[in-house]
């Protein structure tokens, strides 16, 4: 059983009016707040955001991963 830990995922969203894809979702993530924020990435597609959240939850259920958020594909 993995040691108890608290993960954190913060999504900051803002809209860039006039952009071809106006959504900006900056995701800061950690699997253990004792380690501080491990990775921050900004995404522009809602489905990518959902995927990052899904992945993070699955990773929280498993052993502590080395990295968390995959780089967005372009």
């Amino acid at each position: 059983m993995p040691p108890p830990r608290t993960g954190l995922l913060i999504i900051r969203v803002w809209i860039e009016d006039g952009s071809e894809q106006p959504l900006r979702a900056q995701i800061s993530v950690t699997h253990d707040v004792a380690r501080g924020i491990e990775q921050t990435v900004t995404l522009v597609r809602a489905d990518e955001v959902t995927q990052v959240v899904d992945d993070w939850i699955l990773e929280m259920l498993g052993p502590m991963p080395a990295t968390a958020v995959p780089a967005p594909e372009h």
Binding site: L8, I10, D17, E20, Q21, R24, H74
Partner: protein, 244 residues
């Protein structure tokens, strides 16, 4: 917490950046963790808080009884001088009136800068003001009660920095305007309005190559991070220069 008549020292709770508790401008020895969190919460909320609410906020995973016990312990562990900073009643707690809180002053500064049509004092635009707007609230604290307030402050200061840049630009203080606009860019490098503020300052100062360079930096970052182009509005700012 005390009632003697000796003049209270000049006390300050600082929660911009790391937590500090100061008296007469000097930093005091570190407080116990619970006491530190208690002062930080009182400073951040900046109003009278019920004991039950404080206990539940600071120790959300404890039973009510245990959370109250932790609060009593945090109060008991306050140093002699930090007790001067807290007004304690059987029902509630707050910071004493004479205690300064850096976030209180910084929030007031931000609101003055954002008030449309309102003139501001010189000191609201000086280097100290820009510094105050350049710091996050307790950046390494991940408690729920910190995160929400920290995010609110982050948004407020971001807008205030852009407003400060505009105000400085209006009075021809270009160097300081650049500093304020770049501080906004550091908060959120992908935010276009902050980049536009930097570019407008360069253009007003007649630094066309700097304006183009800033635009190019932003475009490169946007392409690399998001695979996008800057908006038409930003393009228009430098369109004439690009055409030359």
């Amino acid at each position: 917490m005390t009632t003697d008549t000796t003049p209270a020292p000049d006390l300050e709770v600082c929660i911009l950046g790391t937590f500090r508790f100061r008296a007469g401008g000097s930093r005091l020895p570190a407080l116990a963790g619970g006491s530190q969190r208690l002062l930080a919460l009182l400073g951040l909320r900046d109003r009278v808080l019920m004991r039950a609410g404080i206990a539940g906020t600071l120790w959300p995973e404890s039973t009510e009884e245990h959370a109250h016990s932790s609060l009593r312990s945090a109060l008991g562990r306050l140093s002699r001088i930090s007790r001067e900073a807290v007004v304690v009643t059987p029902l509630d707690l707050c910071l004493a009136e004479h205690v300064n809180v850096d976030i209180r002053e910084a929030r007031a500064l931000a609101h003055r800068l954002l008030a449309p049509g309102r003139a501001v004092a010189d000191q609201d635009l000086d280097a100290g003001a820009i510094r105050a707007l350049s710091v996050d609230v307790l950046p390494d604290w991940y408690d729920d009660w910190v995160l929400v307030e920290a995010e609110e402050w982050r948004q407020l200061r971001l807008h205030a920095l852009e407003a400060a840049a505009e105000r400085l630009l209006d009075v021809g203080r270009y160097g300081e305007a650049t500093g304020a606009a770049l501080a906004a860019v550091r908060v959120e490098p992908l935010r276009e309005s902050a980049r536009a503020a930097v570019i407008r300052v360069h253009l007003a100062e007649g630094n066309q190559s700097e304006a183009l360079r800033e635009f190019a930096r932003y475009r490169t970052l946007l392409r690399a991070e998001l695979g996008l182009e800057p908006t038409e509005q930003l393009h228009r700012l430098v369109a004439e220069l690009e055409a030359r």
